[in-house]
């Protein structure tokens, strides 16, 4: 519905030397569902609040539908926002909460009624319209907050950690509902969260931030498969990627006392970037480590591991072990491996990532990096 462009946006708070948001550039297309994700204090909420107009933009331009919005009051930006604590008006009923913004706009009563009832229907709030927020459960309140945003038919939805106050089950339920709602309404949505699962499941594109700087922008698959640095790699995916110190020669990869044979093209990458025989950081996703029940010794990609802890998660198990001097987590098909048991694990070296030990940037072939730059 709306195209939003942010050019070189910076945020500096009074009484602070450093920038909270440093040079933020992002172009958001119609109907996109953008998720800003990152650890707390990374500037994602500040960015959202700048888009909403609740914070001043220190430098740079914010364009919505090609109009500069920096100095436009929040109410004139045609946005709606859902807050973490819902920010429902405690003294008003559910109906009044949803109708309030429309009443302020002096919309006629029947139109308000129509919109509120429709939103209530979509959100399943029809029975609760006469209640005060106090008399609602957390999920219901969350839906009222959504409804309050919906009735305004805004060009842009802004959501600031809207699910973080809900319990796990409700959260995954609401996640699906918001996605469904987005598909139905098709409004451009900018969503802030610190939870990578929400980002992965809901976003059309994810913006990963750290210390006020965008680390990577991409579809969930892109950021998962091709993280640009160790931070993104570690942040996306659960459990987190394993990082292991290693050295690679022409023929083999050495991790601690173990030596592995890895695919040619992987060695090529290291060779082309000049990392042969240098210490690098190896990134292995837990799901790329497999359990080999048949003890085939001396296979080039297997190693013997003592399992410190084995966690049964249902269909999968998490195995905690160590390789070299690092801890390693493997996500394997459900097994009944006991703690302390010795097993054979294999690593899918086609899917490993290399990171520079110092810069923590990903090590990749030149054409690959070009590919990422384009996206």
């Amino acid at each position: 519905m709306a195209k939003i462009v942010m050019k070189n946006i910076k945020k500096r708070y009074k009484n602070s030397d450093s920038l909270t948001v440093k040079d933020f550039n992002l172009s958001i297309d119609h109907k996109e569902f953008i998720v800003l994700v990152g650890p707390s204090g990374c500037g994602k909420s500040t960015t959202l609040r700048m888009i909403a107009g609740l914070e001043d933009i220190s430098e740079g331009d914010l364009l919505i539908e090609e109009k500069r919005m920096n100095d436009v009051a929040p109410k004139n930006r045609d946005i709606a926002m859902v807050f973490q604590n819902y920010a429902l008006y405690p003294h008003m009923t559910v109906y009044d909460n949803m109708a309030f913004a429309l009443k302020i706009k002096k919309m006629n009563k029947s139109e308000i009624d129509l919109r509120v009832k429709e939103a209530a229907k979509i959100l399943g709030l029809e029975e609760y319209l006469k209640r005060k927020p106090k008399a609602l459960s957390g999920g219901q309140r969350q839906r009222v907050a959504l409804g309050r945003a919906m009735v305004r038919n805004p060009k842009v939805f802004l959501m600031d950690e809207p699910l973080s106050n809900l319990d796990a089950k409700l959260r995954s339920h609401m996640r699906a509902e918001i996605s469904k709602l987005h598909r139905k309404l098709g409004a451009t949505t900018i969503y802030v969260t610190h939870d990578q699962t929400e980002a992965m499941t809901m976003a059309s594109r994810i913006v990963i931030m750290k210390d006020g700087i965008i680390q990577q922008i991409g579809t969930p698959k892109e950021v998962y498969d091709r993280p640009v640095n160790r931070f993104v790699a570690g942040f996306i995916g659960s459990p987190s990627m394993n990082f292991i110190s290693a050295t690679c020669s022409d023929t083999a990869l050495k991790i601690g006392d173990f030596t592995f044979t890895i695919p040619e093209e992987k060695i090529e990458i290291l060779k082309s970037q000049g990392y042969l025989n240098k210490k690098i950081t190896l990134g292995i996703r837990p799901e790329d480590i497999h359990h080999e029940p048949k003890k085939e010794k001396n296979n080039s990609n297997t190693f013997q591991a003592t399992i410190d802890v084995s966690e049964l998660m249902g269909s999968e198990s998490l195995l905690y072990t160590s390789l070299g001097d690092s801890t390693l987590i493997a996500k394997v098909k459900s097994t009944n491996i006991a703690n302390g048991e010795k097993v054979t694990l294999s690593i899918d070296f086609n899917k490993i990532h290399f990171f520079d030990k110092d810069t923590e940037e990903v090590i990749q072939s030149t054409n690959q990096s070009r590919l990422i730059a384009i996206s």
Partner: protein, 283 residues
């Protein structure tokens, strides 16, 4: 959104207006205490005295020697300090115990108790003046600071209990439950957990009680006639004789009497505001 220059201007304008509204009378009061009798009694409108003098202050503390009709001001000051401090301590101790019971235990007549406590605040003090005088006179307890302390304590208790139970209620129960599991008695929980946590609320309540008992006049004026028992409010009212008011003495005494509560209010300003807001959230 940060404020625009315009908004900024109006806010400062508002702040200045508030300050003028608040401080102008006080500043005039202070100036008056530093003025001579002629300046105070001259008819022309003036804001600054023709010459500054500390005579009013020296007079008020030496009043006894030259005019016995003026109660020795220092004695009255001392009486008021004794009465209001004792009242505050006594009220707080009794109210803390009672509010702890009301906010932490479930027992019969709990709500009725709280409501009727509040009800006592609604009775006009004048209704109690004669009965209390008769009762206290029968026990020979007139002209006695202890009597005033007891009366003020009773008057302030409902308010103090009502405030404190609000604070106590806002403390999560889980914390004391874990203390119970560690074997702490209920009194121990009160002393070691409830009190330190609600300290700002207790201080706020204490300030309110202190100011109220410092302020009281009606009972003090009827219950005290000796210099040993007259409080400062009575002393100030007695600077006026039949048809003649010694404004110089009266306002100088007034300024001195105002200093302790004002200083306390300034020192504990943060506690009072935060204490009140904590209480109002849960109260």
């Amino acid at each position: 959104m940060e404020r625009t220059k315009n908004q900024q201007f109006f806010i400062y304008l508002g702040v200045i207006a508030v300050m003028i509204f608040t401080l102008a009378p006080i500043i005039l009061l202070i100036i008056a205490t530093l003025s001579s009798g002629q300046d105070l009694n001259s008819k022309t409108l003036h804001f600054l005295p023709s010459h500054w003098t500390l005579k009013n202050f020296t007079d008020i503390f030496t009043a006894e020697s030259n005019d016995a009709s003026v109660p020795p001001f220092m004695q009255a000051l001392k009486n008021s300090i004794i009465v209001s401090l004792s009242t505050t301590f006594l009220t707080l101790i009794i109210a803390i115990l009672a509010s702890y019971a009301i906010s932490r235990f479930r027992f019969k007549g709990q709500n009725g108790l709280l409501m009727s406590t509040l009800g006592f605040r609604m009775v006009p003090e004048i209704a109690l003046l004669i009965p209390l005088f008769v009762i206290f006179a029968r026990f020979g307890a007139i002209n006695n600071l202890s009597s005033l302390i007891l009366i003020y304590t009773a008057f302030n208790l409902p308010f103090a209990i009502w405030m404190l139970q609000g604070f106590f209620r806002s403390i999560p129960k889980s914390m004391e439950e874990s203390a119970y599991l560690d074997g702490v008695s209920s009194f121990g929980v009160l002393i070691r957990f409830i009190l330190p946590i609600s300290l700002s609320g207790i201080i706020a309540t204490g300030i309110f009680v202190l100011l109220a008992s410092w302020d009281e006049f009606m009972f003090a004026s009827i219950f005290t006639s000796t210099y040993d028992s007259k409080t400062i409010t009575v002393a100030i009212s007695e600077f006026s004789k039949r048809g003649m008011v010694n404004f110089g003495m009266q306002i100088t005494g007034g300024l001195i009497a105002s200093l302790p509560p004002i200083i306390l209010a300034l020192i504990f300003q943060k506690f009072i505001v935060s204490g009140l807001s904590e209480g109002s959230e849960k109260g």
